[in-house]
């Protein structure tokens, strides 16, 4: 990967902030809510924060799509995001029906996000395979 442009540098910074927020709020939620030390509205707030931190990753990718001035890199990123979306939604759709028919165990909903992030890597691979370059943005 070559040197990052300003939009990509801002993306990296935003992802770093979201990652830090996720780790801190998850640790706090596990310690305080998970062990029953906090209940009521504060427990709700603490339990919401890790998920909202993950939403920060999606926001960062959305901003990158808006701020990336290079149209080719933007197209690569759009393709990457579409592959990630198809990847995550296909797997969770299939799993949902298997779960519905009690053929597999229940999986927590946040796995959709994990699969989507993995899908960004798949998208970068597809870009490299079809266009010769993974793109300069995320994953």
């Amino acid at each position: 990967m070559g040197p990052r442009n300003p939009a990509q540098r801002r993306y990296v910074l935003r992802v770093a902030i979201a990652t830090a927020a996720y780790l801190i709020t998850l640790a706090a939620a596990v310690r305080l809510v998970g062990r029953g030390e906090v209940t009521g509205p504060l427990a709700w707030l603490l339990a919401l924060l890790p998920g909202l931190s993950v939403a920060g990753f999606f926001w960062a990718i959305g901003r990158l799509l808006i701020e990336e001035k290079d149209e080719y890199l933007r197209m690569l990123l759009v393709r990457q995001v579409l592959v990630a979306t198809a990847f995550a939604l296909s797997i969770t759709s299939v799993w949902g029906f298997l779960e519905n028919f009690r053929l597999v165990d229940h999986v927590d909903a946040y796995w959709v996000a994990i699969l989507w992030f993995f899908g960004l890597g798949v998208g970068a691979f597809v870009n490299r395979l079809t266009l010769g370059t993974a793109g300069g943005g995320c994953a």
């Binding site: 070559g2 149209e71 080719y72 890199l73 197209m75 370059t133």
Partner: protein, 64 residues
């Protein structure tokens, strides 16, 4: 769509990086356009034409 970008660039002795810098795009963009893997938008096509002081149709060649 075919184009003469590589030839025009070579005539001026520019690397892909030089051309990318002049167009304010990534080197990957220049490479993708030169190799026909990506057709630029109209605004970028006109910027390329302006840089080489040529009409757009002298750089990008229609296949139809």
């Amino acid at each position: 769509m075919n184009n003469r970008l590589r030839v025009l660039r070579a005539e001026r002795g520019w690397s892909q990086g030089d051309l990318a810098e002049r167009l304010q795009v990534s080197r990957q963009s220049v490479n993708a356009i030169e190799t026909g893997r990506y057709d630029p938008s109209l605004p970028l096509a006109f910027r390329i034409a302006k840089l080489f002081a040529l009409p757009v149709e002298a750089i990008f060649l229609s296949e139809v």
